[in-house]
Each structure stands twice: as C-alpha cells, then as structure tokens.
C-alpha cells in the first residue's frame, strides 16, 4: 500500500502538525514502508472474529457521583504558558 505525500499532508492537518516539505517527503517514504509491512495482516482470515480493544474483559468502572476535592485553580494554572490567574490565555480563535 503506497501512500502519497498529499495524504501525509492531510493527516498532518488532521493531527494539527505543521510539517516542512522535506519532513513530509521523508515521512511519505517511511509510512509507505510501514504500511506495506502492516499489510501482512490481510493474510489472516478474520471473518467473524470479534475485534478486541482491551486484553481483559473489563466492564465500565462506575462510582457514586460524589463531589470530591480536586486541583485548586492555582495548581491547575501553575504550568500554563500564559494565564490571568483565573484562566488560560490563548490567541484569538480566528
């Protein structure tokens, strides 16, 4: 399965990554190789096999909906690149 550089650029856009053209070029070659390799999976007949997203049969872990202490505003904002003391600050949305 070959993948084109336009496809890699589209994935970068979806993943919110800005890639230089040489990065896109290198990734296109690497991803084509990786996709060619993972195409192995098509050799296996998986008709009727239930897909697994989790190795153990777990069910939802629910708890009572009780209010519990959480991070203070100060702690939550402590690592912010920009904050007002009340909120995170970002540039305009558009």
């Amino acid at each position: 399965m070959q993948i084109g550089s336009d496809k890699v650029a589209e994935m970068a856009r979806l993943a919110r990554l800005e890639l230089e053209s040489d990065e896109i070029k290198a990734l296109t070659v690497e991803l084509s190789g990786i996709l060619e390799y993972v195409a192995k999976l098509q050799q296996l007949d998986t008709t009727g096999v239930e897909p697994v997203s989790h190795a153990l049969a777990v069910v939802n872990a629910f708890r009572e909906d009780e209010v519990a202490p959480s991070l203070s505003r100060e702690e939550a904002l402590a690592n912010a690149p920009a904050a007002t003391g009340e909120a995170f600050v970002v540039p305009k949305v558009f």
Binding site: L27, I34, H54, V58, N79, F88
Partner: protein, 484 residues
C-alpha cells in the same frame, strides 16, 4: 562490597539493623551518580535535595521502629511518571519544564513504602522507541559497553540499575519497554498483568497496553518492588481488584512439576546464535531441575508487530492530542491564531518519531481506512490472545528469548521499521495483557548481556517470579559487573 552495589533486600536489612542510615546510603548512591553519570547518562533529573530530605524522613521512621519494605532505599523513576513538584518531561521538549501538581499512584505507593526518590530516568520520547535514542534531553549509554544502546523505552531505568546508580527503578512497558532494556543491560525487569498497577499519573502512550513495572538487580528485589506498587486504584478505570499475593513468599519453591512451553515461532525470527545458546542453556538447566519442557506453538506471533504498529499509534494519536500549548508544556510564541498555536507548538515540541506515530495513528483511524487498519488489527489482536489461551492449556509458563539480538551500537538502526521489528518477541505479551519478565541469562561473545523471557497467564506474577528465582539460583551469583 560498596554501598551502592547493594540490592534492595541487602540495603533494607542493613537499614533495619541500623548498621547504616538511609542518609549514608543515599549519599553513596548520589556519589555514584556523580562519578559515573556522564558516562552512562541515565538520568534526566537527579533530585539531590529531595532524595536527602526523603532519606532524613526515612531515618526518622526507622528510628521510630517503623520499617515498611522500601524504607530508606534509593529508587529511580522513569520520567514518564508524574512526580509532584519534581519536573516530569516524558523525554520530550514539549514538557521540558512541566512540574506536575500531583504524583502518579505508583510513585505515591513508593513513598508509602518509604522509598527515597533519587531522580527521573531518561526514556525514548513519550516511551516511543526501542533504543532510548529518541530523546532530545538525554541518550543513555549501555554500562556494559558505552558505545551501545541501553534499549528502550525505559533505557535510563535499566542503565541506572545496571550501573548501581539506584537500588531499583520503575519503568513502563507498552511493547517491551521494560523487558527489552532489562535484557540489554543485564538486569531483571517485570511487566505486570495489564491492570495490576495503576496508570494514574503516567503520561499516556497507548492506554490499552501501558503498564508500570520494576527493574531491579535480582528477582527478590523485583518481588519486593512489584508488591509495593500493585493494587487497585479507583482513579484508574482499568485497574483490577484481583487480590495481590505476597510475591516474596513464592520465592524458593521448587520447580518440579512446572511445565515450561518453548514457542517454536520465537526461535524462527533470525535469532542471534549467542542469544539462542544462552537461552537454551537455561532451558536445559530447568529440565535438569525437574521442570517439564514442551514445545508449543503461538502461530500468530509474526503478526504481532503489524497489529501493534496500528493499535499503539492509533491510541497515541488520540492521547497526545492533549499537548496543544494551552494548559502546560511548550508554547510557540509567534502564533497569531488558536489553530496556528496548536500546529506550531506541537510541531516544534514533538520529535520525529512521535510525529511519525501520530501520523500513522491518525491514518489508521481516519475515515475510509479505519476498518482495514485499526479494525483489522483489533481482530488480529483477538487471534493473538487466543494463541496464548491455547498455549496455557499445555503449559504453566512460556520461556523464550526477550529480543532477537543483544544490544546494538548507538546509531545503528536509522530505519524506523528495522527498529520496530526488534520488539517482535515482547509485543505479543502486551497485546494479550499478560505478565512477562526478563531475566539475565548470560553474555554474548562481545560481552553484552542476554536476557531470557518468561510469560505467565493473567495475574500469575507469583509463578513468574517463582520460576525466575529458581533459574537465578541455578545460575549462581553473577561473576561480572559493568566496568565503569
């Protein structure tokens, strides 16, 4: 024997008998890091002040007659686990200055057990790699041969333990990231059953595969450190409520009657001759000790890497979307608009391998490709789980190599796929959620360590450690140490 060479159990005995204070032990370890740190480069952060404060507190507890398992023992933690008030980078530029407001549950448990936290060890960025070369902050060197890789992603933890820069360490294992570096650095590494150890406060890579575990100098220490971090945690919805055995109590029980499965496919992956020889020597010794060896088959082994390199990047692409330059981590200062802020911060903050996996994962989950890629991989995962289920009907434990070859020279594998393929023997364990471990079993002709791998059914870490202790016993005491 020098203080820094002690195992956890040896040091704990010295501390409990008050022959040594935690302060003395901690200072000895810090001096060892000072002396050998530049050669090995295992740490991103050494927390001298914090470690000495922990040691003082431990000495007070010891004086009061309290002595939890790890009281006063210097332990290192992979820099993927949050440590309150102590920088946690994930090995990434995007979190280079991140100081967590809380600690991972596994770290809290270490503290409850009285451990002294020496520092944070290096890793492949966000745990994505098999050589620990994908890290802009510190690339470690193998203590046994400084021109070689330590393995990854928990390369720093394995190197620190091998170089006596701590008594033991925590790592994480998503596709072999504890077992493979343990094997390359000649230490013991355990990947617990999925759900045994809480993932709360661990920077997420692939949530259905990630597991925290110990790296130690011997099997007894692995049992001690594993017991300290296991247990249910309501803050991790995948944490299990299974009772936890006292793993130390299992050590020393005989092997007679245990059935070890030798998976044919694990020996058909272009195994290095030295690796094959070292593993088979251990297998023959087991047989002499009264264990039964059976050849078994795990027919879908060769599809593990392919399934993993769709599932893990898919989960990672979702998990790593949180790094956007808004709430923590690196922010690009030139951005004029929000989308631009996301794009620029992520592109400058993430390294090449992380971007590569985000793109693969985005592709595997994207509309029109989801069924053929992520969907198919999830079905193959079910088949691999089934392989193990059948195998464990015929044997109690599976024994095999950990990696096809010993450690390779730094800079040797530039092609991503060739690096991915080195994890062929460790990835299936994670896909199936099984416990597995690596145990030193010899050296290559070039003097590089070789590990053997044990895998057990879900929640049978007791069996894993019991068998490992017996094999270790048969091998006798280690006759060499890294020359640093």
């Amino acid at each position: 024997m020098e203080i820094h060479q002690f195992t956890i159990a040896q040091l704990a005995a010295q501390l409990a008998a008050r022959k040594l204070s935690s302060r003395e032990a901690t200072e000895a370890v810090l001096a060892r890091i000072e002396a050998t740190g530049e050669q090995v480069n295992a740490y991103i952060t050494v927390d001298r002040e914090g470690a000495l404060a922990d040691a003082e507190a431990a000495d007070r507890r010891l004086a009061a007659g309290e002595a939890p398992t790890l009281c006063g023992v210097p332990i290192a933690v992979k820099d993927l686990l949050c440590t309150k008030g102590l920088r946690t980078t994930g090995g990434s530029k995007i979190l280079e200055n991140f100081v967590p407001p809380y600690s991972a549950t596994a770290v809290e448990k270490l503290r409850e057990a009285g451990a002294v936290l020496v520092g944070k060890t290096t890793l492949d960025e966000f745990a994505m790699g098999s050589s620990n070369e994908h890290c802009p902050l510190a690339v470690p060197h193998n203590p046994w041969n400084l021109d070689h890789i330590c393995g990854g992603s928990s390369g720093g933890s394995a190197a620190a333990v091998a170089a006596d820069q701590c008594m033991g360490a925590l790592g994480t294992d998503t596709g072999g990231s504890i077992r493979q570096p343990a094997s390359h650095c000649g230490v013991v590494g355990v990947k617990p059953t999925y759900g045994r150890v809480s993932r709360y406060g661990v920077l997420a890579f692939a949530s259905s595969l990630d597991q925290v575990g110990p790296l130690t100098k011997d099997v007894r220490d692995a049992a001690l450190l594993l017991n300290a971090i296991c247990g249910h945690d309501p803050r991790d919805s995948t944490s299990v409520r299974e009772p936890v055995a006292d793993f130390s109590a299992e050590l020393g029980r005989p092997l007679a009657g245990l059935r070890f499965g030798l998976p044919r496919e694990y020996f058909e992956v272009g195994l290095d001759e030295d690796v094959k020889k070292a593993v088979m020597t251990a297998v023959n010794r087991l047989q002499e000790a009264g264990a039964e060896i059976r050849e078994i088959s795990l027919p879908r082994t060769e599809y593990g890497v392919a399934a993993y390199y769709l599932i893990a990047p898919a989960e990672a692409s979702s998990n790593l979307s949180r790094y956007d330059g808004v709430r923590y981590g690196y922010r690009d200062q030139e951005a004029r608009e929000l989308l631009d802020l996301y794009r620029r911060s992520r592109s400058r903050g993430f390294g090449r391998e992380v971007k590569r996996r985000i793109i693969i994962g985005t592709y595997a989950l994207s509309s029109g490709y989801y069924e053929a890629y992520y969907g198919k991989a999830s079905q193959v995962r079910a088949l691999i789980i089934d392989d193990f289920r059948r195998a464990f009907e015929e044997c109690d434990l599976i024994i095999s190599p950990v990696t096809p070859t010993p450690a390779w020279p730094l800079g040797d594998k530039s092609d991503p796929l060739s690096m991915y393929l080195t994890d062929i023997l460790t990835i299936p364990t994670n896909l199936a959620g099984l416990p597995g471990m690596s145990l030193p079993c010899g050296f290559s002709s070039k003097g590089l360590p070789i590990g053997l791998q044990l895998q057990a059914p879900h929640f049978r870490e007791d069996l894993l450690l019991r068998a490992a202790a017996a094999i270790e016993e048969q091998q006798g005491p280690a006759d060499r140490r890294p020359q640093l």
